[in-house]
């Protein structure tokens, strides 16, 4: 991994000097705040003398006063350093006339842009073949398939569906768990040991899989089913919302072509961003990455995980996606800044039309009312910045 210089890191540390006099001033303010809610027997609420409060809550007031003084100092620094995160206090050291405070915060790192004309990328154009369309339709047929029980004495064959009661035993032979499982009997899709254990078995047979650590799984086969696919005809097309089979094939092809285009474009853009980042790597603020991560998770259906490792792998995958999206955004923002990219109303309308808005003027009006117009402008600027980069990089087109 490339070493990132300090100015290209988001995390910064800073030593602050807070004068004790300032803390004393703050102590008076804090004590006044304490007075509002402190309850001491013998005094009505809000009537406890400040001197008594200061005496009784000496340490609390002092700590709060230091924090308050630090907060004020940080507020002054916020605009100077363009702080984008919360500020953490790492250390407080008491000197003679002041407190030395070590704080930690994140800023937008320095982003250097390479000469885009030196960047070379491959642009893959994915073609949709008849085979792709046929495969898609086959999957659709599987989705609408019917599961039919086979005769009791028939042995398991490839592509069968097995419903079995699975019992998990540990190495000492104790039953750990027991549950009904649904197995699609395909050599490439299930564990090889299980595939071999289930071979030639019939209903009510028992298959056993032994593991190296001494534990084992026992499968009591309850049902064997086959998948009966629906006929591929006009009726099937109509069930799926098409007029006839021909139209279905045509529409599916169009959809796959659209998907392939999006995929190709995404890969192309990712490659460009990766190359720019490789040239001048930087560390994005973790707060941005966390926000992006949360946004991705919010907009997707998170699967249920049986094992902790699966969940961890999923989180890492999404986190890497979030990291890349932040890098992309920061690079594009830098291009917008350096090249002073502005957008006209016509460009916004064109962008919305491309996005599929039927009435862009009305959409703009509504978004202005909701206060979302700025984010649309930002998106158009980003797109324009990317188009600017795409025009400069050297692209090699590869048709797949």
């Amino acid at each position: 991994m490339a070493v990132i210089p300090d100015e290209r890191k988001a995390l910064r540390e800073l030593k602050l000097q807070i004068e004790k006099l300032k803390v004393l001033e703050e102590e008076d303010k804090v004590a006044l705040e304490f007075q509002k809610f402190v309850e001491i027997p013998g005094f009505r609420k809000g009537k406890v003398p400040i001197s008594l409060i200061k005496q009784k809550y000496k340490e609390d007031i002092k700590n709060e006063a230091i924090k308050s003084a630090i907060r004020q100092k940080i507020d002054e620094l916020r605009s100077e350093y363009e702080i984008v995160s919360d500020v953490g206090i790492k250390d407080i050291h008491e000197a003679d006339n002041s407190y030395e405070v070590l704080i930690e915060f994140e800023v937008i790192p320095k982003i250097e842009l390479p000469d885009f004309t030196n960047i070379q990328v491959d642009r893959k154009i994915y073609k949709v073949s008849d085979l792709d369309v046929a495969e898609y339709i086959e999957n659709l047929r599987k989705k609408f398939s019917e599961e039919v029980k086979v005769e009791e004495d028939r042995e398991i064959q490839d592509d069968d569906i097995i419903i079995a009661k699975m019992e998990d035993y540990d190495k000492d032979g104790n039953l750990v768990s027991s549950e009904d499982v649904y197995i699609e009997y395909k050599k490439d899709e299930i564990d090889e040991r299980l595939y071999r254990a289930l071979a030639n078995k019939k209903v009510n047979d028992i298959a056993e899989v032994k593991f190296d650590d001494g534990s084992r799984q026992v499968f009591k086969i309850q049902e064997i089913k086959v998948r009966k696919l629906p006929e591929l005809n006009d009726e099937f097309a109509q069930i799926n919302g098409y007029m006839d089979l021909e139209e279905m094939k045509q529409k599916i092809r169009e959809m796959l072509e659209k998907e392939a285009k999006v995929r190709g474009e995404f890969e192309y853009e990712t490659q460009i961003i990766d190359k720019i980042y490789e040239a001048y790597p930087f560390q994005p603020p973790s707060k941005f990455v966390i926000n992006a991560y949360e946004n991705i998770v919010k907009n997707m259906e998170v699967p249920k995980f049986n094992r902790k490792e699966e969940e961890k792998a999923f989180q890492e995958q999404v986190l890497s996606l979030a990291y890349k999206s932040v890098i992309r955004e920061l690079i594009l923002r830098e291009v917008i800044k350096q090249k002073s990219i502005e957008v006209s109303d016509e460009e916004v309308i064109e962008y919305l039309k491309q996005r599929g808005e039927e009435n862009p003027e009305e959409y703009i009006k509504r978004s202005k009312q909701r206060g979302q117009y700025e984010s649309i402008i930002e998106s158009v600027k980003m797109k324009k910045a990317f188009d600017y980069i795409k025009n400069l990089v050297r692209t090699k087109v590869i048709v797949e």
Binding site: P41, F43, R44, K47, L52, Q55
Partner: protein, 98 residues
């Protein structure tokens, strides 16, 4: 009785502080068996001041209730309170900061 046992604690309440600030009267909880002269002697010795006048009163017990079930669970203790007025120019330093 040892003089150090006479004064149990200073009373610090709104009213007591008002007495202190306006009339130079300090309020203490004192030993039930302590009389005015004993209180005077104790305050003078302990705080190095001159006492002009002492007034005492016995605080009657108040019903005490259990906070949890709000049932009466007895009474608070009986105690003696002393109002000690100091002579002009004297003050109890230990109680000034409050």
């Amino acid at each position: 009785m040892d003089l150090r046992d006479v004064i149990i604690r200073p009373i610090i309440t709104e009213k007591a502080l008002r007495y202190r600030d306006n009339y130079k009267i300090y309020v203490f909880e004192v030993h039930m068996d302590a009389n005015k002269s004993l209180v005077k002697e104790a305050v003078e010795k302990l705080f190095d001041v001159k006492v002009e006048k002492v007034r005492t009163c016995i605080m009657k017990p108040k019903p005490r209730s259990n906070i949890r079930n709000r049932r009466r669970t007895g009474y608070t203790k009986t105690w003696k309170k002393a109002y000690v007025k100091l002579k002009e120019g004297y003050s109890i330093k230990a109680l000034e900061g409050v």
